[in-house]
């Protein structure tokens, strides 16, 4: 019984509501799955078993008392280890932060998941300080792709994707600054949501780049993604970026599908350098939606460049004191980029912020004519662990710098994106970005649900 419930939050809440299973049984089964296989996968850095069982028993007591259960009652989940979890250090993928005192309170989104009845199983592996597209980590080892453990999960939310793809938990939380939800979702064959910049409060998470940091969920279905996202919404004044907007629940909207939505396929920059499988996946998605309109987004390459500069400069400023005190304790793959970023002239950073406004105006004009744009999430499927270069457009290029070429221009201006997997049976998956205008997560998830219903994920 519990094994069949491992994949779906919706199935868990339904079974729990019918009294077919207890939250404690669900939790124990999830902990057993982690114990049996996580040494191979490397998804978790911290397992909060005692807390999980206490939260599960609280759900069971609430049900026994006849109280109304939350929308995620009894659903096991875990969070990228940059979310504060009371009692454990907020590693943010680093050795340095692991030596800091444990968090005393949970991140706000962890509090909201608990309020919705979800059960926290632990904290998840990630690329150091989120400066990563691979899921590899010099301190804690790589998170391995459950679809093929010789391959990368993608990053930086690698453990968040691995935990869901391995069936340890049906949902997880990650973060996305330049593609860190969308790339791992693509490589691991999952759904993910990067909401509009400012939609979800980042209170209690370890930052990377304030101008571009987003939080969001992973799941195996659009329904689970929508329920989780709805549970996370709500403004918070502690995060100065969090918008003062009303909650806009999406769960009841996803059944509307694509009807009435003007959808276009991104061409130009977003078709350049992708390997044939990534372009074929995009074509399959377009065909399933009966979409033929195309849009060439101008200056997407410059948008990616500006996102690179802002990330490099802000991330380096954040870590400047750590770079002074203990540079040798960084993961070498992040340290040298942070040091370089500390040396950028301020004019480069300011120009990138000015270009951000210019590109926002470009996208506003485009969304006056379209509701949704489809684009690849990554130029390839999951690379092999340890791989340093990749051939794109006939050229061998550094892998780490090029996994985000299609995601960076989109998060640069904070657009909401649903990550949707497309997979031929027996092959590695590719990912599609379903991109909408600011604050229209409902459009993203309606189209994601239509693609899911079309059976594109293997």
């Amino acid at each position: 019984m519990t094994a069949s419930l491992a994949q779906s939050a919706q199935a868990i809440t339904c079974a729990l509501a019918r009294g077919e299973v207890s939250a404690e049984e669900i939790t124990r089964a999830a902990l057993e799955r982690i114990s049996a296989r996580d040494a191979e996968i490397g998804a978790f850095t911290d397992i909060t078993a005692e807390r999980a069982l206490a939260e599960a028993r609280a759900v069971d007591r609430s049900r026994a008392a006849g109280h109304k259960l939350g929308p995620l009652a009894g659903v096991p989940y875990a969070v990228k280890n940059l979310y504060a979890v009371a009692g454990i250090p907020t590693r943010a993928g680093s050795k340095i932060n692991a030596a800091y005192p444990p968090a005393t309170t949970d991140a706000l989104l962890v509090q909201r998941m608990q309020a919705a009845g979800a059960v926290l199983l632990g904290a998840l592996n990630m690329g150091e300080y989120a400066y990563d597209f691979t899921g590899e980590n010099a301190h804690y080892g790589p998170s391995r792709n459950p679809l093929d453990t010789t391959r990368m999960t993608g990053g930086s939310s690698g453990g968040s994707a691995a935990a869901v793809a391995a069936g340890f938990v049906p949902v997880s939380l990650g973060s996305d600054t330049n593609g860190s939800i969308r790339v791992p979702a693509a490589f691991c064959g999952l759904y993910g949501l990067k909401p509009t910049y400012g939609r979800l409060p980042r209170t209690g998470t370890f930052p990377f780049c304030d101008s571009l940091d987003h939080l969001g969920p992973f799941a195996r279905s659009v329904q689970d993604l929508a329920v989780t996202y709805d549970a996370l919404q709500g403004q918070d004044a502690s995060d100065p970026v969090c918008a003062r907007r009303p909650v806009a629940r999406v769960q009841s909207d996803i059944a509307k599908g694509r009807d009435g939505l003007r959808i276009a396929i991104a061409t130009g920059y977003f078709r350049t350098d992708a390997e044939p499988g990534a372009l074929a996946a995009l074509e399959r998605a377009a065909k399933a939606l009966d979409v033929s309109d195309e849009i060439d987004i101008p200056r997407a390459a410059e948008a990616r460049a500006a996102a690179f500069l802002i990330t490099n400069a802000e991330g380096s400023a954040l870590h400047l004191e750590r770079l002074r005190k203990c540079p040798a304790d960084f993961d070498p793959d992040t340290r040298d980029r942070f040091i370089a970023g500390a040396l950028l002239p301020a004019s480069w950073y300011v120009s990138a912020q000015r270009f951000r406004r210019m590109f926002e105006n470009t996208m506003t004009d485009i969304f006056a004519r379209h509701d949704v744009i489809l684009a690849p999430s990554a130029p390839c499927s999951a690379p092999r662990l340890g791989q340093k270069t990749i051939v794109l457009g006939g050229r061998e290029v550094p892998l780490r710098a090029n996994m985000g070429i299609y995601t960076q221009p989109i998060s640069f201006v904070g657009l909401p994106v649903a990550a949707v997997p497309v997979r031929e049976t027996g092959a590695l998956p590719y990912g599609i970005q379903v991109i909408a205008a600011p604050w229209r997560e409902d459009h993203c998830l309606r189209v994601a649900a239509a693609l899911e219903a079309a059976g594109l994920n293997g």
Partner: protein, 64 residues
């Protein structure tokens, strides 16, 4: 920018910032700086620096 000039810039700027860079790290630091320089050239060509408001967020809050 010549390699010699870039290495000199890295030495002086990191010293000014108080960051100790081991010799074996320097080629990577230089490589990443060069990548950023290329990105900055792309942005400068858009003329955004003289024609657009910066997007940095700042909202004054009244005391309540």
């Amino acid at each position: 920018m010549t390699t010699e000039f870039l290495n000199d810039y890295i030495d002086r700027a990191t010293e000014n910032l108080g960051i100790s860079v081991r010799p074996e790290w320097k080629p990577n630091v230089a490589m990443f700086f060069e990548v950023a320089r290329g990105m900055a050239k792309m942005i400068e060509a858009t003329e955004a620096a003289t024609s657009a408001e910066a997007a940095a967020v700042f909202s004054p809050h009244a005391s309540e």
